[in-house]
C-alpha cells in the first residue's frame, strides 16, 4: 500500500462501488422485491380525456378466479383522506394557487387519458390485468381542455367542479427597475417562445409495495423513489397512519430525473389496498402507464418584450408566462408553481436591471406536470434563446452578444435581481474557453464554405448558472427552505470499516462511491473500507427531498467531510490517551492510528473500537469515547455551478434531419470528487436535451387523446443520435475553506436545449428560419424551412 501514500481519492476516477452488483444482475430494484403472500395490483385507467364517471361495475371482475379485491374511487373516499398537494412545502398558502383535494383513484370525474379509476388486486399481475377487461364503466364525455386557449376560455368546463375555472395559479412579479430599463432602451425586441411537453422517462418506471402489520399498526412501504422520507410524510395523512409508523424502504432506483420526487396517487391506492387487505400488495407500472400517467413536464411559453441597448445589451424585460400543469397537482411540488421560475431563472449570468412578469398556470386534461431535471430550465432556455433573437435582430454574432451581456466577476452588478451574489462566477471564462476550443471564428469560415456546397452547418452557444447550492447571501444563514440542511451519521465498526448513513437516495449518481471517496481521504482509511448506507427511513436522517436539486455534491459531501473530520479528531484524542502521546503527534493512515515516525506505537481503528467497547478502563474515567458522529451541514459558503455549452450541427434541408457534429462543454462545478461521475452526469443531461429538441414529445390530440404511449411514439435518443462529448473544466473560484464540490446533476439538461436550438437556427438563418420553439423534429423543420406547408 506504500505506493498509495499521498494519493487522494477525491479528484480521482475511482471505480464505482455500485457497479459489481449492477453489472452482475444483483441490483435490487422495486420489481425484484418479493414478499410472502404478496398480491399484485393493476389499475384501470381512463381512455378518455375528460368525462363524468356515471357508474362503475366491478362485480364481474371480483368474481374472476384469482382476484382478491377491486377498489374504486368510492372505496378510496371511504378508506383515505384526499391529498392537499403542496401543503408540505407551504403551497396551499401561496396567493393565487389552486390546489384541489385529490384521491388515489378518480371519484366523480376522469381528467386525463391514464387517470386511475380502479385498482384490481389479484394473485398475479396477469390475472389482475385480465380482470381490468371485466370492469364496466359509464362515462359522460365532457369537452376536453387541451391548450392554453381551452383552459383560459370561460365557456369551457372546469376540470374541478369546486373551482370556478381552469386557472391553477396566477401571479405577478417585479424585480429591479423595469420602467427605467425600458426608458433607457434603444429598442424593444419581442418574441414568443415555447417549450413543448416532454417527460423524464427513467428506464425503471414507478412501483410500490405496501405491507401492513395490523398487530403493530405499521406500514412498510417499498418504493422506487428519490426521497424515502417524502413518501412516508405524504402518505401518512392520506392513509391515516402516523408518519412514525411508516417505514419506507427503497433500494436501487432505475433513474428518476426529478419525477421520483413525487408521491403518486397510485402509491396511496396501493397503501390503502395493502392496509385494507392486510396482505402485501405490489404494483409495478408498465411503460404505457408510465408514459401516460407517470408524469410529464415543461409545456411552458412566454411572450417577451426585451429592452435592449443599441449594442445588444439586455436591460430589462416584461414577460407574460404560461404553464400547462395537466390534470392533477403533483405532491409535494405542484406543477403550477414552476411558472414563476420562467421569470426568476431568466437572469442567469446576465446583467439585466429589471424584470416584470405575469405568470399563469392552467389545468388541462393532460398528464400531471412533474419536476424534470432542472425544473426551472425553461427560464434559462428563454434567456439563451432571447440572446440569439437579439443577436439576429441587431445583426451581431451570438458569441459577441454574450460577451456584452454576461457579468464579469468582481464588476457590478455584484448580485442578481433576486439578491443572490455573483460571487465566484466563471461564466466569462467558460465562454471564452469554449469559444477557443471550437475555434468559433474558424467555424464561421467552414460554415460559409459548406454553404457554398449546399450544406447547412450551424453553431450554438449557451451558458447557465445553477444555485447548486449558490453562494451564501451575506448576513443570511444557509439552509432552511424546502431543501434544508444535510444530516449524516458516520461511525467506526470493530472490523475497522467506516459506516456512513446518508440522507441522499442515489439513483444513478454513485453516492456510494463519491461519499466514500471523501471519507477515505478525511479519515485515512481505504476506499473499500467505507460503506455508504441509504434507503431505510428507520435509520436514515429525515429529508423531505433526499436526492434532487443538484444538492448532493455540496450538501452530502460537505456533511460527510465535516463528520469525518470530527470522527478523526475523536480517534486521535482516544489514541493519544492510550498511547500517552499528544494527539498532534499522531496520524491515521491505512486504517491505523500511529505515532508519527514511530509505527510500532499504533493501533488499527477497529481495535480502538474494541478497546472502547470492551476495555473502557484503559482510558481515564470520564473520557468521551463516542465514535459515532452526527453532523449537520448548512452548505457553508456554497458557490455556483455553471458553464458554457457549444453545439455544432448539420441540418439536411431535404429531410429535416439534424446531425449533432460536435458538442463541447466547459463546466465549473467546483472540485469534481470523481471526474468520471461528473462527466457522466453532464453527458446524460445533454443527451436528454438532444431527445427533447430532436425527438421527444408527450403528444396529445385535439380531443385530449394521448398519442405517445409507447417507445415507438415517444422516441428516446439512441447510440446513433448522440455524439461523443468534449468536456472541460475551468479553474474554479473556491468560496468555502473546506467544501467546494458543487452540484452537476441538472446543468446539462438546463442549458443544452438552448445550445442545440441556437445551432439549428444558426444553420438555417440564411433561409430566413426563425426558431421560437424547442421541439424541432424533421417534420417541423421542413415546415420551418418551407419545404412542406405548415399545419
Amino acid at each position: 500500500m506504500t505506493d498509495l501514500i499521498g494519493a487522494r481519492n477525491v479528484g480521482a476516477r475511482v471505480k464505482r462501488a455500485e457497479d459489481p452488483r449492477i453489472l452482475t444482475g444483483r441490483g435490487r430494484y422495486i420489481d425484484d422485491v418479493v414478499l410472502p403472500g404478496m398480491l399484485h395490483g393493476a389499475f384501470l385507467r381512463s381512455t378518455v380525456a375528460h368525462g363524468r364517471l356515471r357508474s362503475i361495475d366491478v362485480s364481474a371482475a371480483r368474481e374472476l378466479p384469482g382476484v382478491v379485491a377491486v377498489f374504486t374511487g368510492e372505496d378510496m373516499a371511504a378508506l383515505s383522506t384526499p391529498a392537499q398537494a403542496g401543503q408540505t412545502i407551504g403551497m396551499t398558502q401561496v396567493p393565487g394557487m389552486k390546489l384541489p383535494a385529490v384521491y388515489g383513484l378518480a371519484t366523480d370525474k376522469v381528467r386525463f387519458v391514464g387517470d386511475p379509476i380502479a385498482l384490481v388486486v389479484a394473485e398475479s399481475r396477469y390475472v389482475a390485468e385480465d380482470a381490468l377487461d371485466l370492469i364496466d364503466i359509464d362515462v359522460e364525455m365532457l369537452e376536453p381542455i387541451v391548450t392554453y386557449a381551452d383552459a383560459l376560455d370561460p365557456a369551457k368546463p372546469p376540470l374541478f367542479d369546486e373551482l370556478a375555472d381552469n386557472v391553477a395559479y396566477r401571479g405577478e412579479m417585479a424585480l429591479g427597475d423595469v420602467d427605467g430599463a425600458f426608458a433607457r432602451a434603444a429598442r424593444v425586441v419581442t418574441a414568443s417562445i415555447s417549450v413543448h411537453r416532454h417527460q423524464p422517462v427513467p428506464m425503471e418506471g414507478r412501483g410500490s409495495i405496501g405491507s401492513w402489520d395490523a398487530a403493530e399498526g405499521k406500514m412498510t412501504f417499498y418504493t422506487s423513489t428519490q426521497s424515502p422520507h417524502m413518501v412516508r410524510q405524504l402518505l401518512a395523512p392520506q392513509i391515516g397512519v402516523p408518519m412514525e409508523q411508516i417505514r419506507v424502504l427503497s433500494g436501487d432506483v432505475g433513474g428518476g430525473f426529478g419525477l421520483k420526487n413525487t408521491v403518486f396517487r397510485e402509491d396511496v391506492a396501493v397503501a390503502v389496498a395493502a392496509k385494507a387487505l392486510e396482505r402485501p400488495v405490489k404494483w409495478v407500472e408498465d411503460r404505457m402507464e408510465h408514459l401516460a400517467a407517470g408524469g410529464q413536464a415543461r409545456e411552458e411559453m412566454a411572450d417577451i418584450e426585451a429592452a435592449v441597448t443599441a449594442d445588444g445589451v439586455l436591460l430589462g424585460l416584461r414577460m407574460d408566462n404560461k404553464l400547462n400543469a395537466g390534470a392533477y397537482p403533483s405532491d409535494p411540488f405542484p406543477g403550477a408553481m414552476f411558472v414563476n421560475s420562467l421569470a426568476t431563472a431568466f437572469q442567469g449570468p446576465t446583467r439585466i436591471e429589471g424584470l416584470a412578469a405575469t405568470s399563469t398556470s392552467v389545468f388541462s386534461n393532460k398528464g400531471t406536470y412533474v419536476s424534470y431535471r432542472g425544473p426551472w430550465a425553461t427560464g434559462d432556455f428563454l434567456r439563451e434563446r432571447m440572446l440569439d433573437v437579439v443577436a439576429r435582430e441587431l445583426d451581431l454574432d451570438p458569441l459577441e452578444v454574450r460577451r456584452r451581456n454576461y457579468v464579469v466577476r468582481g464588476e457590478p452588478p455584484l448580485a442578481m435581481l433576486t439578491g443572490q451574489p455573483f460571487a465566484g462566477v466563471t461564466t466569462r471564462e467558460c465562454l471564452e474557453q469554449a469559444a477557443a476550443i471550437v475555434d468559433w471564428d474558424g467555424f464561421r469560415r467552414r460554415q460559409a464554405e459548406a454553404r457554398r456546397d449546399g450544406r447547412y452547418l450551424g453553431i450554438g452557444v449557451a451558458s447557465y448558472l445553477e444555485a447548486a447550492p449558490g453562494p451564501r447571501v451575506p448576513g443570511q444563514l444557509r439552509g432552511g427552505g424546502i431543501l434544508g440542511d444535510e444530516t449524516t451519521h458516520v461511525w467506526l465498526e470493530r472490523d475497522g470499516k467506516v459506516v456512513v448513513v446518508t440522507q441522499q437516495h442515489p439513483h444513478g449518481q454513485g453516492h456510494q462511491t463519491t461519499l466514500a471517496q471523501v471519507v477515505a481521504d478525511e479519515l485515512g482509511v481505504a476506499f473499500e473500507d467505507v460503506e455508504v448506507r441509504y434507503g431505510d427511513t428507520d435509520v436514515t436522517p429525515y429529508a423531505l427531498v433526499a436526492t434532487g436539486g443538484s444538492r448532493a455534491a455540496t450538501m452530502a459531501n460537505g456533511a460527510v467531510l465535516h463528520a469525518s473530520r470530527e470522527l478523526r479528531q475523536r480517534v486521535l484524542s482516544l489514541a493519544a490517551e492510550l498511547f500517552e502521546a499528544s494527539a498532534a503527534d499522531l496520524e491515521i493512515s491505512d486504517g491505523t492510528v500511529a505515532v508519527k515516525g514511530s509505527p510500532a506505537t499504533s493501533m488499527p481503528l477497529g481495535e480502538l473500537v474494541r478497546v472502547v467497547e470492551e476495555e473502557p478502563g484503559r482510558l481515564p474515567a470520564g473520557t468521551d469515547t463516542e465514535l459515532k458522529v452526527t453532523r449537520v451541514f448548512d452548505g457553508g459558503e456554497g458557490g455556483w455551478s455553471g458553464g458554457t455549452h457549444v453545439c455544432e450541427v448539420e441540418v439536411d434541408v431535404e429531410t429535416g434531419l439534424v446531425h449533432v457534429d460536435r458538442y463541447v462543454v466547459v463546466e465549473d462545478c467546483g472540485v469534481p470528487v470523481n471526474p468520471a461521475i461528473v462527466e457522466g452526469q453532464i453527458r446524460g443531461g445533454v443527451t436528454q436535451a438532444i431527445g427533447a429538441v430532436l425527438l421527444e414529445r408527450s403528444a396529445y390530440g385535439d380531443d385530449g387523446q394521448f398519442l405517445a404511449s409507447t417507445f415507438m411514439d415517444y422516441l428516446l435518443p439512441t447510440t446513433t443520435e448522440v455524439p461523443n462529448f468534449e468536456i472541460h473544466h475551468v479553474d474554479t473560484v473556491p468560496l468555502d475553506p473546506d467544501v467546494n464540490f458543487r452540484g452537476v446533476g441538472e446543468g446539462g439538461m438546463i442549458v443544452a436545449p438552448a445550445a442545440i436550438t441556437n445551432a439549428i437556427e444558426d444553420a438555417l438563418a440564411t433561409l430566413g428560419v426563425r426558431v421560437r420553439e424547442q421541439h424541432l423534429p424533421p417534420a417541423r423543420l421542413l415546415e420551418l424551412i418551407g419545404t412542406v406547408p405548415a399545419e
Binding site: 399481475r125 433513474g255 444513478g508 457522466g680 447510440t719
Partner: protein, 170 residues
Amino acid sequence: MTSQGGATTSGQAIAVEVNGTERAATVDVRTTLADFLREHLGLTGTHLGCEHGVCGACTVLVDGEPVRSCLMLAVQADGSSVVTVEGLAEGNAMHPVQEAFWESFAFQCGFCTPGFVMSAVALLRENPDADEATVREALSGNLCRCSGYQTIVEGVLAAGRKVREEGAVL
C-alpha cells in the same frame, strides 16, 4: 405466481437450460420468457423496461442469439439454452464485458445495464474487432436514459481490446 389463476390459460411443461443448469417447470402458455426467468427462477437481473420490444433491457441469449425476453414466451424457449446476466461471471470474477464496463464507468442507475451487457457479449462473440460505428449500430436497439451512451460504447470497445490483446474469453 403467474401460473396461478386466470380462467383462460393453461399450463405446459417446459425444460430449459438456464445459465448451464437444466430447469423444468410448468408454466402458463402466456408467460413470457422474461417473467419465467424473473418470477419462476428468481433471476431478477433481467429487467423489463418497456415490455414491447424497444428498450432492450430484457435482452438474454437464447442458443447464443440475443433475444428480447419480453417478446418471447417461455414455452417457446422449451429445449433451448438461455444465458442471462447472472450467467456470465465466474464466482466473483466478472466477465470481461462486465469488467470493461466497470472500468469505463459505463452506467449510472443500472436498470438498462443487463440488456447492454448481453447485447455487447453477443456482438463481441461475433465480432471482437467491432469499431465504434459498428458498436453504435449494434447497440442502437438498447435504450439508456442516464449515460449518453459514450461510456457504454467505450466499454464495449475496451472489452474487444481485452479479447484481442489479453486473450480474454467471452
